[in-house]
């Protein structure tokens, strides 16, 4: 497979992560990568922009995606669907370069053949049965046994290939599974899925999340745009966050959270002798607020998690208290997302 573009093809001169122009919350500063783009990157966006008339949908976004599952996050209107459409070649960027699976997906037929796309729109060919839709995708991708392969793909998404109803009579969830099956049928190396869990019931959602995880574990690149944060958290921890058309952050969301040093972090502390522990924590300056939740639990807010961790055990010891639990409450993806997209706490 062709390597990603190297310096002569215009890689970003700035680190790709946390280096964009003012993101909604500009306080994150992740360490620059040693090599840009990473040698195993299968998706590279280099200062990509897209405008629709006067409206700037995406502005100078640079990132690279490596094999595994990556979630593309952002609030509604942030530009993530536009970004995904540019990455899949559906939409031409106004500026910048895109490289996916060995080429420019807009002009390179071979590169397009290595992408499995689940577009956002509901419509699939209404007057066809599911097997024909997926078989057609296989034929257009030069698959040798299109029917056999189509049956295989439908099996994977738990859909009966013998179903005689046309897609027009399907529920949203069934259409979604047909869309996923047509993306799987030619065994691509890169998957791009725009809200692939929409319309699926909880059991199917779990099944699809497992499927995406398996694909990632097989060395496929799976880029998923989603707004369902609890599920995104289950895909894996790698995220690209787009807010107001700009790259807000990229990386492991837990690392991103840890770098939010100057953001207050809520921590639940389980201990005996709570009142004394709370008072000592406040006196030490390691926490800025302290709330007693119940007999055994305190909820504190700290501006420095490192300092808090350093003192909490000592204070418990000094207070003759048994420390039973220390749990960060803002360590989840939603907190990271809210912060990065400027949603506040």
């Amino acid at each position: 497979m062709t390597q990603p573009p190297r310096p002569n093809q215009g890689p970003p001169s700035q680190p790709p992560v946390g280096s964009q122009e003012p993101a909604p919350n500009p306080s994150i500063s992740l360490p620059p990568p040693t090599l840009w783009p990473p040698p195993d990157a299968t998706i590279v966006a280099n200062t990509v922009s897209k405008s629709f008339g006067d409206l700037v949908a995406v502005s100078g976004v640079t990132f690279a995606v490596q094999p595994g599952v990556t979630a593309l996050l952002g609030p509604n209107g942030a530009g993530k669907s536009t970004m995904l459409r540019m990455l899949s070649g559906q939409v031409k960027p106004t500026g910048g370069e895109i490289w996916v699976a060995g080429g420019n997906p807009r002009t390179d037929t071979d590169a397009r053949g290595r992408i499995g796309l689940v577009p956002q729109q509901d419509g699939v060919f209404e007057r066809e049965i599911a097997l024909n839709v997926v078989k057609m995708a296989a034929i257009l991708s030069d698959i040798e046994d299109p029917e056999g392969r189509a049956r295989w793909a439908l099996d994977i998404v738990e859909m009966d290939p013998e179903l005689g109803r046309t897609v027009g009579t399907f529920s949203k969830g069934m259409r979604q599974r047909v869309k996923i099956a047509q993306a799987l049928v030619h065994d691509p190396t890169v998957f791009m899925m725009d809200e692939p869990l929409n319309g699926l019931d909880p059991r199917q959602r779990r099944h699809m999340v497992e499927l995406f995880q398996k694909l990632g574990a097989m060395g496929k690149t799976v880029l998923i745009s989603s707004h369902v944060l609890e599920e995104v958290e289950r895909f894996g921890s790698h995220v690209i966050v787009i807010a107001k058309g700009r790259l807000a952050a990229q990386g492991d969301f837990r690392d991103i959270r840890n770098l939010m040093d100057n953001q207050p972090l809520r921590v639940r502390v389980g201990a005996t002798n709570l009142r004394l522990v709370g008072a000592e924590l406040l006196r030490s300056g390691a926490v800025v607020s302290c709330t007693i939740v119940d007999d055994k639990t305190l909820e504190v807010t700290t501006n420095s998690i490192i300092r808090f961790r350093r003192v909490v055990a000592k204070i418990c010891q000094m207070s003759n208290s048994r420390l039973e639990e220390v749990t960060p409450l803002d360590d989840d993806l939603e907190s990271v997302f809210r912060y990065l997209t400027g949603g506040g706490r």
Binding site: R85, V91, R112, P119, Q121, M136, I139, L140, D142
Partner: protein, 238 residues
């Protein structure tokens, strides 16, 4: 070839809605009835001439382009509208295959759907098989050109049926009649001239030759399919 077949099948089936079939059937019946009613009021050479005039205006000037517009603009236009084109467009197939198969599917329905009733109307109206065949030939040649044009319209403009109707009435119906120079760019003009020349029923002075008419309509068809391919290569599909 397999790709072409599967695309052709998709486009062919996509066009065959009951509404469209009803429209085409209605047009055909109406055309035959009007032609017969008008022709029955004349006798001999006049009857042939009247039949040719009626079919030139209502058949080649209205029925053929409107049927072609309704069918051809929908082959790709509907897929652009409901955003399903991406499922074909994103596959590793050359875009010309999409354009050619869409055009072929449109021709496969438009050509028989217009040539048969027009030929029948010509034959029954004029009482001459030769006139019927001439009209059917002209209709077929016009169909391939109109299908090319309106397939292209489907990917270049929204509301392609509205734009197509404006084109049929203003360009083909009005301007090419008012300014003879424009007839070189009028499919209707080539089709009418072809019908008159082949039927040998009216004077042919100043008309396009048979070869020129067939060649021009073929070039229109090829040109617009090439333009459709060009458009598919450059358009945003979302």
């Amino acid at each position: 070839m397999k790709k072409f077949q599967i695309l052709f099948r998709l486009f062919f089936r996509h066009q065959l809605t009951s509404g469209r079939m009803f429209l085409i059937g209605g047009f055909s019946v109406l055309l035959i009835v009007i032609t017969l009613a008008t022709a029955s009021s004349s006798e001999g050479p006049d009857r042939v001439s009247v039949t040719l005039d009626v079919l030139s205006v209502l058949g080649l000037g209205l029925s053929v382009p409107i049927v072609a517009l309704v069918l051809a603009s929908s082959t790709l236009g509907d897929l652009v509208e409901d955003e399903t084109l991406v499922y074909l467009w994103h596959r590793p197939s050359p875009r010309w295959q999409i354009a050619w198969s869409a055009w072929t599917a449109a021709v496969a329905i438009t050509l028989p759907a217009t040539s048969i009733p027009l030929g029948l109307a010509g034959w029954l109206g004029a009482g001459s098989l030769k006139v019927g065949l001439a009209i059917a030939l002209a209709s077929g040649v016009a169909s391939i050109a109109y299908c090319g044009l309106f397939s292209f319209a489907g990917v270049i403009v929204k509301k392609s049926v509205l734009w197509g109707l404006l084109y049929i009435f203003i360009w083909e119906g009005l301007l090419s009649g008012l300014f003879p120079g424009l007839s070189r760019l009028s499919i209707h003009s080539y089709a009418t001239d072809l019908a008159i020349r082949v039927s040998e029923a009216q004077p042919v002075n100043g008309l396009h030759s048979v070869t020129a008419s067939i060649l021009a309509c073929s070039l229109f068809a090829i040109g617009f399919v090439v333009l459709t391919t060009w458009r598919l290569n450059r358009m945003d599909v979302a």
